[in-house]
């Protein structure tokens, strides 16, 4: 037998074996699933199948529930033992997930053990199982995982921010020496079960923290839990030396609906940082047309960024559309005033606003359309 014949036989057998096994395995899987759907029992289930169908969040919920019941009826002790054994790796996580879905009382203890595993991905998976158990013990475990650095904030905060958090559990986060942990604790104060006034008092103190991340987090939380009392503090942070604190302060004022702060927010339209200007623009639009009196002076601002941004905000507030309609009314005074303001906005916004105004006139409904085109054309000529 030449080496070529031998090599051919080896690769041919490998291909045939792999392909045949793949197809047989799949056929067996399909048959098993079909049987389980029919409610047949007595199958000797492989762990992979159990995990796939019972633990997998993406599998058919009805089948998954039925299989969880089946597994717990037939081998509860085995599943519990697998969940407890750290050498089982991912199988242990899958097992604890099955226990959690069955409402097993020991699963939180198993999850607590898993949060001490060296493998960060297994810890992260354990956190998502905890996310499905909404009680104080699981919340305490999540907060402790966050504080000890065993779970990143980006993984735990989306879970915690949907719960009401006992204030005493949050305190260790606020007292932590790590700035990152303190910032997260500050952010989560918005979900504290303490009285609003208490939470606000704490947040107002944290607004003066030396760390910018904490100040930004305090602004964010105040946007959700603050009162009129917070407005003055937030307004002072619109001048914070750190740009993302200014952004957070502006957005919080927007969340509180503080129209009176619009002038301060509008000042941010002249910021050198695009992100700050963008946040200010969005906040002003969220506050609505009531900000117009404080916003219009920005059309005359010395800074081109401020003028451009102001024109964009006015457009997004619907003022331009309104002016286009008003400048076509029969009343000469209204018409003249509308045209004058339109000209001013176009001058502030430059060619981009000018072309958008032209397009806006083009899309005005029915008989207004032709008149709109003529009107805008004359407006531009005048400009």
């Amino acid at each position: 037998m030449t080496p070529y014949v031998l090599a051919f036989l080896v690769v041919f057998s490998a291909w045939l074996g792999l392909s045949a096994w793949m197809i047989v395995d799949r056929a067996a899987h399909d048959r098993l699933v079909a049987d389980l759907r029919r409610g047949a029992r007595g199958h000797r289930l492989r762990w992979g199948t159990v995990a796939k169908l019972a633990a997998d969040a993406a599998s058919d919920p009805e089948l998954s529930r039925a299989l969880v019941r089946y597994v717990m009826d037939t081998d509860e002790r085995g599943v519990a033992a697998t969940a407890r054994d750290p050498r089982e790796g991912w199988r242990a996580v899958e097992a604890v997930r099955i226990l959690a879905r069955a409402g097993h009382r020991e699963c939180v203890s198993d999850l607590e053990r898993m949060l001490r595993l060296g493998d960060e991905e297994m810890r992260a998976a354990a956190v998502t199982v905890l996310a499905e158990i909404d009680d104080e013990r699981s919340t305490a475990l999540l907060i402790e995982a966050l504080r000890s650095g065993r779970c990143p904030a980006s993984w735990a905060v989306p879970i915690l921010e949907r719960r009401s958090l006992p204030a005493r559990l949050l305190q260790p986060l606020l007292d932590d020496p790590s700035l990152g942990v303190r910032a997260v604790g500050t952010r989560l104060l918005a979900r504290s079960d303490a009285a609003d006034a208490t939470v606000e008092r704490m947040l107002l103190r944290l607004c003066r923290d030396r760390d910018a991340d904490v100040r930004a987090a305090a602004c964010r939380a105040l946007g959700e839990r603050g009162s009129a009392k917070a407005v003055r503090h937030l307004e002072s942070l619109l001048d914070d030396p750190v740009w993302f604190v200014r952004i957070r302060a502006a957005r919080a004022l927007g969340q509180l609906g503080s129209v009176a702060s619009a002038a301060g927010i509008a000042r941010l339209l002249a910021s050198r940082t695009w992100w700050v200007r963008q946040a200010a623009k969005e906040t002003l639009v969220d506050l609505g047309p009531a900000v117009l009196p404080q916003l219009l002076p920005m059309l005359d601002h010395a800074d081109a960024f401020a003028r451009n941004s102001c024109a964009e905000v006015l457009q997004n507030l619907g003022l331009i559309d309104q002016l286009l309609v008003d400048s076509d009314t029969a009343d000469p005074a209204t018409r003249a005033a509308s045209r004058a303001l339109l000209d001013k906005i176009v001058a502030a916004g430059g060619s981009r606003v000018e072309s958008a105004v032209g397009a806006g006139a083009g899309t005005l409904a029915g008989g207004v359309e032709a008149a709109g085109r003529r009107r805008v054309a004359s407006t531009f000529e005048a400009a």
């Binding site: 792999l18 395995d25 989306p158 060619s351 981009r352």
Partner: protein
């Protein structure tokens, strides 16, 4: 002469053997990585996380050029992504067909002045639109074609408001959970994970394989070219890239789905229009920059299918597309040649780049030399016919083993194939060498010649025949669309 020919044949066979051994080694690593990811996916409940407004928001950027055939279902799939906070920035890069008109009609676009960041697109003056029906959609219309996809991506970057950017293609339909899957590793380790890519499916009509499509159909395109491309994509993503990711040298985040942290993109200066294609280049550039500045980071490849892209339905179109891929591979390898074998660049320099050079860049040279030398050897009687046929059989079935392994890795994780499609795909493996590989070899050769001639054209293939544009879902076959321009997004 005979002696030279003998050694040439031995040299080419040795190359084949080395590449095969590397492929098998990578397959072993990929199988481990795939197993881990599958178990992770089963054990985790991402739905518990990705319903919160506290998740890291993502800007999806999609450049399009003459995509009226598919643009509406593509944008619908992007707006339909299950993710609590994302926006879609679409750049219409000087399309000459009805792309913009279709978008205006389907998404009720209204013209809105927007003042962008102008970090990467200074001097451009695009027209901007926002959708009245879904304000998350912003359309940036560049009246003149910028000449490269990188230019359009840079333009889109300036309108992005979020700290993560996901570059996608205008001819690709996205699965609803694509962003959740891709952002999971980012949320697990936001400090280190700077980039994520995931598996892309391929079909001559991707809208037939979208989430909303009738689930009774095949999981893969079973047309002749479609099935071979499917096998090739499986091998590329599951046999290779998973291993690259595990070993720390993920060298190509696919242009159809590349998610990056925005600050990293800013640091490296955005996408480069100096190359025929931007995806491999930006991946190399990020590796180069972060390794040179000694930063800890990861670029992750995931096994989950996140999208189905449109593959060419004709051999001619396939050759054009693959020639471009080969050209950009050579451009990038040549540009970053200082990384090859350089210990400063760790696994990327010591394993990834040399392997890329060997298996991708130099493949056409060996393919040509091997074909010519073996043919000559047979003609001159150095190689017996029987031996030659056996040799072909060895290569064909060795190739088929890798193809079957790719199918198995996917089916074990998804169980989405119909049984008969599994069997059919497995049987296609052995004939791939003679039926499909010659097309790729020819394309690679053309690409290599193009590289040597310093060509820079995009080589976009014409969209496959469809019915009238405008909606989503499957459409009956219709006459081919008019010729697409020679440049830009494919």
């Amino acid at each position: 002469m005979t002696q030279t020919l003998h050694w040439l044949v031995v040299f080419c066979l040795s190359y084949l053997a080395v590449v095969f051994v590397c492929d098998v080694a990578l397959l072993a690593v990929s199988a481990l990585e795939n197993g881990r990811r599958v178990r992770q996916r089963r054990a985790e409940s991402l739905d518990a996380l990705f319903v919160s407004g506290e998740v890291l928001p993502v800007s999806v950027i999609v450049p399009v050029y003459n995509e009226e055939a598919v643009v509406v279902p593509v944008v619908r799939s992007l707006l339909g992504l299950d993710y609590p906070q994302h926006e879609v920035i679409l750049v219409n890069d000087g399309s000459t067909d009805g792309t913009l008109a279709l978008l205006e009609r389907e998404f009720a676009l209204e013209r809105r002045a927007m003042f962008s960041q102008q970090a990467f697109s200074r001097g451009d003056d695009p027209v901007t639109y926002r959708s009245r029906t879904d304000p998350r959609l912003v359309v940036v219309d560049s009246p003149v074609n910028g000449g490269s996809k990188a230019h359009a991506l840079n333009l889109a970057l300036d309108f992005c408001r979020y700290p993560y950017v996901c570059g996608v293609d205008g001819d690709t339909i996205y699965d609803r959970r694509a962003l959740i899957k891709a952002m999971a590793p980012v949320h697990r380790d936001p400090a280190r994970v700077v980039g994520v890519t995931s598996r892309i499916g391929v079909s001559t009509h991707p809208e037939n394989h979208a989430d909303g499509a009738d689930g009774s159909g095949p999981a893969a395109d079973m047309s002749f070219l479609g099935a071979f491309q499917h096998l090739e994509y499986l091998r590329s993503f599951l046999n290779d890239r998973l291993a690259w990711s595990r070993l720390g040298f993920m060298l190509c985040t696919s242009g159809a789905f590349m998610l990056y942290r925005r600050d990293v993109i800013d640091e490296v200066g955005g996408f480069s229009p100096a190359f025929s294609c931007e995806d491999i280049e930006i991946t190399f550039r990020i590796h180069e920059h972060l390794l040179r500045t000694r930063r800890k980071y990861r670029i992750v490849a995931l096994p989950d299918k996140v999208a189905t892209t449109e593959g060419p339905a004709s051999a001619q179109a396939l050759v054009r597309q693959r020639a471009r891929w080969q050209r950009v591979t050579l451009e990038v390898i040549w540009h970053y040649r200082r990384m090859i074998g350089n210990p400063r660049y760790k696994a990327v320099g010591l394993i990834g780049a040399p392997f890329f050079l060997l298996s991708e860049a130099l493949a056409p040279v060996f393919e040509l030399a091997g074909t010519v030398s073996v043919a000559l050897a047979v003609a001159l009687g150095l190689f017996e016919w029987q031996t030659f046929l056996l040799f072909l059989g060895v290569v064909a079935f060795a190739n088929a083993v890798l193809a079957s392994a790719g199918i198995w890795l996917e089916d074990a994780a998804s169980r989405e194939y119909r049984l008969r499609d599994l069997a059919r795909l497995a049987l296609l493996g052995p004939i791939e060498l003679l039926a499909y590989r010659p097309i790729l070899a020819w394309a690679r050769l053309k690409g290599t010649v193009g590289f040597l001639r310093r060509e820079r054209s995009w080589g976009k293939f014409e969209r496959n025949p469809r019915g009238p544009a405008g909606g989503g879902g499957a459409r009956p076959a219709a006459p081919a669309l008019g010729p697409a321009g020679p440049r830009l997004v494919g």
